[in-house]
Amino acid sequence: MLLSLPALHLQTSEYHPLFQLPHGRLGPWCSPTGSPAPLSCETGCGEGSWILVCRLLVPTQVSLLSMEEDIDTRKINNSFLRDHSYATEADIISTVEFNHTGELLATGDKGGRVVIFQREQESKNQVHRRGEYNVYSTFQSHEPEFDYLKSLEIEEKINKIRWLPQQNAAYFLLSTNDKTVKLWKVSERDKRPEGYNLKDEEGRLRDPATITTLRVPVLRPMDLMVEATPRRVFANAHTYHINSISVNSDYETYMSADDLRINLWNFEITNQSFNIVDIKPANMEELTEVITAAEFHPHHCNSFVYSSSKGTIRLCDMRASALCDRHSKFFEEPEDPSNRSFFSEIISSISDVKFSHSGRYIMTRDYLTVKVWDLNMENRPIETYQVHDYLRSKLCSLYENDCIFDKFECVWNGSDSVIMTGSYNNFFRMFDRNTKRDVTLEASRENSKPRAILKPRKVCVGGKRRKDEISVDSLDFSKKILHTAWHPSENIIAVAATNNLYIFQDKVN
């Protein structure tokens, strides 16, 4: 049973019991004809049912092993960790990201570790196992550091991971903590040379006098080993905390953004970066706004956007000037006077900004809503979706317990037809932009059996609470879904809930 232990063990495909797909059973979100949606991203969320594929726990113990040892990490994940049954704060997942093909899924956690999962290969015998992800590689990306000058500890928590597009057999990703960005190369080794003349099978040197014949070493297959090596370290360029990194479409440069500045890097050059945005006021007393997120345009290598704590988005063109302090476009929605309160600014603070895959739209997440903007229209968003409007009357309490400062992320699906974001109580929400339907789902052990269809949740906002509804006061605000990811071309999503990673996919008949 997948969920039997609170253990820090990794469920691989070998341990997944066989669950029968509920053939012929349709969830409430199936299409009206009664047939389940095809596994294509065109259908959007309203037409499909979501099932849990697997729940993965970050394998803490693997990181204790030296990466230099010739150990098969896959073997370890199958058997090594079963007996460990604790989860620490270091295991809290802080970022999730699919690579460009969706074959790999990377997570970063508070302990500075990166865990990469790989999709199970499709096979004729076990076609229903497709969509499951197993651990591929684990490495310690960042260590805690101490800034002696300021007497401050620099957290090793991984704030963001971004993949580079694959250009050869190896995989490359950028990972960053508050201060330092690193480029990691993840590569496989499945052959090793055997038949040395001067070394024996165990690697000990042989006495040359005992050698009577010569042989040519040959490459023999070995158990797959995945190794991660840091190829570049981009350090000492940020005074404030890095909140975003974004790879440019030229694949030669990337940017890193902190609270007040954005820097442009070349992948090959680590001792220099160009500052392209600087909003630090000459007098820090005049500071009223910080940068909260930034991203490059998916196709135009000269354009990028950055969002602010005041709910504004600026589109900048690097061709215009070296320092992009003057925006090309400025996106801001006028404040709704009927909703005005002391907390208006805090809840308007944008926690995430994402370009659509088409490059035509941007999506922003603030505390209560997700908004879609057309790049051609600056004065208001074209779509606004309420994530959890029932919290509007609770803002005072949420301010008190600091939940109002939580930073939720948002993601597009592959075809830009559905958007997804997280909420509290381990809920996450999907909005279909075409049908205007939305759904609330829950990522929790108690409520999802593997391969069973996820039941939509509903929050009761007042009056009589129906049987399956949850009242606002019963919501658990310590269980927040801040990080989610959507497969680039299929309806597979990854949802991070504290130290658990849930992978759901659209039901396949």
Partner: protein, 237 residues
């Protein structure tokens, strides 16, 4: 804090009334926040909370800039909406030592801390308080709640006790040689567990000490209509 499912947060009745009033008030669409003065109790609790957050944030080794900026901006909004009290007597000796705060915080991010300290100064200027510097010994032990502030001290002793909590333990050591015997009288003996003897701002504090902290807050709110400033707990607590 809304934590576990089904568990309601327990609150004191007063606070609950205040918060409910706060919730109800600022939710009312016909009352734009900036245009109309909210009930003093509601805005005062929000104000106190914001100041608390601000100081907590500033005390971090490396404050979260976004959090800081949002709290400060919210604080400004609350202040802007609160009508200043014209009838208050001039403040006898308001605790305010931005310069001292400056120097003590210089060990951390000098620019940021200096600016934030002067930001606090700026905030208190808005309320028209005089900024006569005061010997730091008047701050008293960090754990002492400033529910003891008498109404006569004025609306916002922002910088006083507040600055006190900004200063870390080195402060105590710095001023150890100052003779505080004139303050160590029986008048200042603790009447409840939460209060500690120590130097305080003015004679008006006497009667305050005989009251329970929560009672005093309520009393002051009712009598004067200004908020009683709560001193955030110091490191010793």
């Amino acid at each position: 804090m809304m934590l576990s499912k089904g568990l309601k947060r327990k609150r004191e009745e007063e606070q609950e009334k205040e918060t409910l009033a706060a919730d109800a008030w600022w939710l009312d669409p016909s009352l734009p926040a900036a245009a109309q003065a909210p009930p003093a109790a509601a805005s005062s609790s929000l104000f106190d909370l914001s100041v608390l957050k601000l100081h907590h944030s500033l005390r971090q080794g490396e404050p979260d800039l976004r959090h800081l900026v949002l709290v400060v901006n919210t604080l400004r909004r609350i202040q802007a909406s609160m009508a200043p009290e014209p009838t208050l007597p001039p403040v006898p000796s308001p605790p305010a030592a931005p310069c001292v705060a400056d120097s003590l915080l210089a060990s951390s991010d000098a620019a940021l801390s200096a600016s934030m300290a002067s930001l606090l100064e700026d905030l208190s200027h808005i309320e028209g308080l005089s900024q006569a510097p005061q010997p730091l010994v008047d701050e008293g032990p960090p754990g002492r709640p400033t529910g003891g502030s008498p109404a006569s001290l004025g609306a916002l002793d922002l910088l006083g006790p507040a600055t006190g909590c900004l200063l870390d333990d080195e402060l105590e050591g710095l001023f150890e040689d100052i003779d505080t015997s004139m303050y160590d009288s029986e008048l200042w003996a603790p009447v409840s567990e939460g209060l500690k003897p120590g130097p305080e701002d003015g004679p008006g504090k006497e009667e305050a000490l005989e009251l329970d902290e929560a009672e005093l807050d309520y009393l002051l709110d009712v009598l004067v209509g200004t908020q009683a400033l709560e001193r955030p707990p110091g490191p010793g607590r």
